[in-house]
Each structure stands twice: as structure tokens, then as C-alpha cells.
């Protein structure tokens, strides 16, 4: 039982980081970023590249890869999303689909399709860590949980306290009013994309250090999309319980049910949620109507 709980927490942390990426972009611009999974993959490859460039220097490679992930978010907004302003949201969503396909192709072109392990170049190991109750997790499992907690805590403080965070919330909640108050919309949107890509990239960096890195990792983004919808697309606070719920169902189906159900369990959760409460655990009805 302790092991199942520990694994649930680790999987939930991965989903929470990815799910936060979806919500951040959606709250700001009402765009569903369907390239979030590929931004996770890209984050992993950024780490692989920086680790290869600065072997044995994780202090340099890790922040650099995280910064590159955030920068990618800004570039995506400036180059692709900003020109979509004024067009239907649907068109912008299609742009994110295309972006995902292009990112996957570019990754194969540059890094080939071989499975990679960034830890090799970082010079770090990933030893098992015994926990209370007989559970054992890897070091990077703990890093994943720690990163998710730190990210959400920092995001909470940023959105609640900092002037920029308050502007970001204002732009997301009352767009017209915020623009009349002189809030720099494009700056806020670019920041949302940067934070979203950073969250995805961070998840990718830790996941690829812990498990593996390959171009097809983007599939994880699809599972986290279900998490974002279960939590409520406009609710950052909803991501955490939704991630815990989806991860718990996934782990329980492997441990005590049919392991093959684990593959579809995020979508089963989503289906149930759509039937019972279509706007998600903490989403608002109004947002559903807007979608």
C-alpha cells in the first residue's frame, strides 16, 4: 500500500506539472495548447543537449535547459500565437497541433530516434530511496515530487502577491477590463507561454533523467490533458487534486485491477467527469459555455 501511495504521488507530480501548463495558457488566452506533451519532450532534449555540452556540470546544464524551455514558450507565442490574434481560437489550437508535429520531426532530425539518458552526461546517479512503510522510490522520483510542490508554491505566491501575477490573473479573468486598465496583454500572454513551457520542460527534464528520453514521450501530454480537464481548464487549483485522482486510478488499476486499464484510466476519469460535472472539479460553468 505504501508503495502504491508513493508511486501515485510521483505520477501525480508529473501530471500536475504538465496539467499546469495547459491551464496557464488556457486561462490567459483561451487556447488549448495541444503541443504541451511535445514541450515536455523538448525539455528533456534540451537537458540532453546541455548535459552533452557541459558534461559533469549539472549546476550549469539543468538551469540552462530550464531557461531554454521557458524561452521556447516565449518564441512560440511571439512567432506563432501572437499573429493568430483576432483569428478564431480554433485556428490557434490547430497551430499548436502543427507545432507539436513539427517539434517531433525536428527532434528526430537533430537527435535521431534513439533512446537517450541525460543522466549519463550529467554525471549524476539515481539511487533508490527507502521511505516509511517499506516503499522505495528513486532519487529523481523525489525530485519530481519536490519540483511539482515548489512550482505550485511559487506559482501561487507569484499570482497572489506579485504585481505581474495580479496583472496576469486580471487579464485571464476580465480581459476587456484589464486591457482598458493598460495591462500589456502580449507581455502577459508571452509570460503564460513561458511558464507553461517551463512547467512542461521541467517535467520532461526530470522524467527523462528518471526513466528515458525518446521522441514519442509527447504521449504523456495527452494523459495530462485529461488531468487538466478533470480539474477544470480554468482552475490551477484543480490541477493538483485531479492529478492525484487520475494517478491513483492509474496505479490502482495496475495493482488491483487490470493493468491494461492503466493506459486508458486518465480518459475514463475524464469521461466520468464529463458526464457528472462537465466543467471539471474546480472549473466554472461559464468557462464551459465559452469553450
Amino acid at each position: 500500500m505504501a508503495q502504491a501511495l508513493a508511486t501515485t504521488l510521483v505520477v501525480a507530480s508529473l501530471y500536475a506539472l504538465l496539467g499546469a501548463g495547459y491551464v496557464l495558457v488556457y486561462r490567459a488566452s483561451r487556447v488549448l495548447n495541444l503541443a504541451q506533451g511535445d514541450l515536455l519532450t523538448l525539455g528533456g532534449y534540451f537537458l540532453f543537449a546541455t548535459a552533452a555540452t557541459f558534461p559533469g556540470a549539472p549546476v550549469l546544464a539543468l538551469p540552462l535547459a530550464a531557461a531554454l524551455s521557458a524561452l521556447t514558450g516565449v518564441l512560440v507565442y511571439v512567432a506563432l500565437m501572437r499573429p493568430m490574434a483576432g483569428h478564431p481560437v480554433f485556428a490557434a489550437v490547430l497551430v499548436t497541433v502543427t507545432l507539436g508535429i513539427l517539434l517531433r520531426a525536428a527532434i528526430v532530425l537533430v537527435f535521431t530516434d534513439r533512446t537517450r539518458h541525460p543522466l549519463q552526461n550529467l554525471g549524476l546517479s539515481n539511487p533508490p530511496r527507502p521511505l516509511a512503510g517499506g516503499a522505495v522510490v528513486s532519487t529523481f522520483d523525489l525530485v519530481m515530487v519536490g519540483a511539482a510542490v515548489a512550482f505550485f508554491a511559487a506559482l501561487f505566491v507569484f499570482l497572489k502577491v506579485s504585481p505581474l501575477g495580479i496583472r496576469m490573473r486580471a487579464a485571464g479573468e476580465r480581459a476587456l477590463l484589464a486591457s482598458q486598465r493598460g495591462i500589456n496583454f502580449h507581455g502577459v500572454f508571452a509570460l503564460s507561454w513561458a511558464l507553461s513551457a517551463f512547467a512542461g520542460g521541467l517535467a520532461g527534464m526530470i522524467y527523462s533523467s528518471n526513466v528515458r528520453l525518446e521522441p514519442s514521450l509527447g504521449i504523456l501530454g495527452l494523459r495530462a490533458f485529461a488531468v487538466a480537464l478533470v480539474g477544470g481548464l480554468d482552475s490551477l487549483g484543480g490541477v493538483v487534486p485531479a492529478a492525484l485522482l487520475v494517478a491513483a486510478v492509474e496505479v490502482a488499476s495496475v495493482r488491483w485491477g487490470n493493468p491494461l486499464l492503466s493506459d486508458v484510466s486518465p480518459f475514463l476519469c475524464l469521461l466520468v467527469m464529463l458526464l457528472v460535472r462537465p466543467w471539471g472539479l474546480f472549473g466554472t460553468k461559464e468557462e464551459l459555455e465559452r469553450v
Partner: protein, 388 residues
């Protein structure tokens, strides 16, 4: 003026006609290959395509086969059955033989096209279809090192040998694809016949976000050994998850192309890789030759080429035996009696017969990490299994 132009033209034409190369350019042996060169499964199959390309470039530079070059037309099916069917249809038009280096869902459509056009079909990269095993279908051949049922027999024999008189409990980790599940269900049954305690096969979705719960099932069931026969991601993913949760048993998997790199990366003495190809750590002359030839030709490491290289050796032998002019019927007959010295890439020759288009005997080696030597070592030498 017009007369001078006419004379010059006649002169040029005469020269061209008199030039032996222009007049008698040798007809090529035409072969087609449908392969997962790109797409989500390309990591396992693109090296076969690259090996073929490099191998026959060298053959052609050395004058071809029986004085004729070998022209291989490659089609990228991305591991998609519909694309593979279209590629096979296109390639069988004029080709002496078709090669498939792609995932198993492409087999049926490619085999249908090959059968309809009476074109011999050589599998070189993916798992061998049952039609290559005795009693073999007349036009189906396979050179891939791994083969269903035989791999399980070998792996379980190894586990039994390593365990001595101790009764062991064996677990099985399959991927949620028919080939892997069927193979490991067979292995589970075979293990029981060998007197081992077994744990029901744990089936793992290939896209699992975390292999830990699957590993936990194996650990909780008390597995002393776990055998995995699946695509590489699941094979190694389950082992790493077992390792993470502190499992101390032994693990054996089929050693696909990444095995050599992964044994070195993980340095786990309880991880065993069963393989039909000699790892390049053995530094045989053929390994050095391949390494030199593929340098600059591929993004994959040289040791990924072994599977495709062996397959290309068999095709070359078949074409040599077929002579010139070669027809599809003659080539199928030639391949049916081919005997190829793999120069150490495999444990012995690849010998096919009219009834057996896999090989008369197949050879396996098991490798693992030796912490004392700080290197990969083979556990014993080659083991031979007769294919009947």
C-alpha cells in the same frame, strides 16, 4: 556548314556506339525494401536500412554480383500497414525480391502483395513470421536473430542452468502487443513444464507513464527471475523500475540493438541480455570492418548494424547463387539452400533448406555486466538450438 554539323553528329554517335560501357551497361539485380525508416518505430528498423545501403554500396563498388550491380529501391512505410501495402505493390513491380524491415502489423499486407506477384519476401529486422519456420512457405524467408518460442526456450534453459537445483519462481513482463503476449504466455507454460514456479504474465502498455506499479506486481509475487520479451522500451523499463524499488532478483531480456549501451549504462550484474548477435565488445574483425564502413553513413552506432548486415550477407549469397539472369523462382530456390558464414556476427552459419527458411540451427549468447572486470562479459559461449 550544315554538312559539317552533320559530320560532327555522326562522329559523336559513332564514338558513343563504339564505347563498350555505353553499349553494354550491365543490367542490375533489382530488389525492393519496405522499412520503418522514420516514424515512431524507426529506432529498431532504420539501422537495417542503413546497413543494407552501406553493404551493397561496397558490393557495387567491387563490381557487383556476377558482374551486375544490385539496385535496391527503398520505401519508408513508417511502420504503417497501409503505407507498407502501397510500398509493396510499387516495389514488387520489377523486383526480384522484397525485403521487409518493419513492425509486425505490416507483415500481412506485404505478404499478400508478395504472394500475389510471386515475389520472394525476406524479413530482416523484425521478428520472423511463422511462415519462415518449418514447414516454410515457399516464398517467405527470415534472417532476424530473434525468433518466437526459440528465444523463450533458450531463456528458460538459461534460468534453469543458472539456478542449479534451486526451485525458482519466474515472472514474465510482456508488452500489450499480440506477439509479446503470445510469446510470454508460451514461456509461462514452458517454465511450468520445466518444473519452475511461475507468476502470470504481467502485461505492460508501451506508453505507460511509470513502470513501477507493474514492477511492484512482480516483486510482490516473489519473482526470483523475470524474463521479458518485448520491444526494448518495456523490457528495460520494467527492469529499471524493479531496480528502483530495490528488487534483488535476476532479469533476462532479449538483447535488441541498444542492449550493449544499456548494459554499460546500468552496470547491473543481475541484468542478462540474451541475443543472437555477437556484441561488438568482442571486437571481431567483422565488427571493425562494419564500424569502418558505416562511419559517416549513419547516426546510429555501428553495433546497431549487425541485424541488417547479416541479412544483407544472406541476400548477397542468394543472388550469387541465383547467377545471371536471375528470376524470382530461381532466387527463391537459391535462398532455400543458402549457407552463409556470418564471420562471427552469429554463433554459426545461416543455413536454409527447402522446408526451413529460418535456419537449421540458431545460436544464442547471454551477456551481463561484470562489476569485477568493469566490463560486459558473456556468460558462457554460444548455445545452439536445432530448428525442427
Amino acid at each position: 556548314m550544315r554538312g559539317r554539323i552533320l559530320s560532327a553528329a555522326v562522329g559523336v554517335l559513332t564514338l558513343v556506339a563504339a564505347h563498350p560501357a555505353a553499349a553494354q551497361a550491365p543490367e542490375p539485380y533489382r530488389v525492393g525494401m519496405t522499412a520503418a525508416i522514420t516514424g515512431p518505430f524507426s529506432a529498431g528498423y532504420a539501422p537495417t536500412y542503413e546497413a543494407y545501403r552501406t553493404y551493397f554500396k561496397r558490393v557495387n563498388e567491387a563490381g557487383g554480383i556476377n558482374g551486375h550491380p544490385v539496385v535496391i529501391t527503398y520505401e519508408d512505410d513508417r511502420g504503417e500497414p497501409q503505407r507498407a501495402a502501397a510500398a509493396a505493390k510499387k516495389l514488387t513491380d520489377g523486383a526480384l525480391l522484397l525485403i521487409n524491415a518493419s513492425i509486425s502489423p505490416t507483415y500481412k499486407p506485404v505478404m499478400t502483395e508478395a504472394e500475389a506477384s510471386k515475389t520472394p519476401l525476406l524479413f530482416g529486422g523484425g521478428v520472423c513470421p511463422r511462415e519462415a519456420f518449418p514447414p516454410a512457405a515457399p516464398l517467405i524467408f527470415c534472417t532476424t536473430s530473434f525468433g518466437s518460442k526459440w528465444d523463450s526456450r533458450m531463456a528458460l534453459g538459461f534460468i534453469k542452468e543458472q539456478s542449479g537445483t534451486k526451485k525458482v519462481r519466474v515472472g514474465f513482463a510482456a508488452q500489450d502487443i499480440p506477439l509479446s503476449r503470445i510469446e510470454l504466455e508460451f514461456a509461462e507454460q514452458h517454465a511450468r513444464e520445466l518444473g519452475m514456479d511461475t507468476i502470470p504474465v504481467v502485461v505492460v502498455p508501451g506508453a505507460a507513464s511509470d513502470f513501477t506499479p507493474f514492477a511492484q506486481n512482480l516483486k510482490d509475487a516473489g519473482a526470483d527471475w523475470v524474463f521479458s520479451w518485448a520491444p526494448w522500451g518495456v523490457e528495460i523499463g520494467v527492469f529499471e523500475a524493479l531496480h528502483r524499488i530495490g528488487w534483488k532478483g535476476n532479469y533476462i531480456l532479449y538483447g535488441h540493438q541498444p542492449a550493449q549501451d544499456e548494459l554499460t549504462r546500468l552496470r547491473a550484474p543481475n541484468l542478462h541480455a540474451l541475443t543472437g548477435n555477437a556484441m561488438f565488445i568482442e571486437s571481431l574483425p567483422i565488427h571493425a570492418e562494419i564500424t569502418k564502413l558505416v562511419q559517416g553513413q549513419t547516426n546510429h552506432p555501428a553495433h546497431y548494424m549487425a541485424e541488417g548486415w547479416t541479412s544483407a550477407m544472406v541476400l548477397e549469397a542468394g543472388l550469387r547463387k541465383c547467377g545471371w539472369p536471375c528470376t524470382r523462382e530461381k532466387l527463391a530456390q537459391a535462398l532455400s539452400s543458402v549457407s552463409v558464414d556470418t564471420r562471427g556476427l552469429r554463433g554459426g552459419p545461416i543455413e536454409m533448406t527447402a522446408d526451413n527458411h529460418y535456419r537449421r540451427a540458431t545460436y544464442y549468447k547471454v551477456y551481463r555486466w561484470d562489476a569485477g572486470k568493469n566490463a560486459i562479459v558473456s556468460v558462457g559461449g554460444w548455445s545452439k538450438l536445432d530448428i525442427k
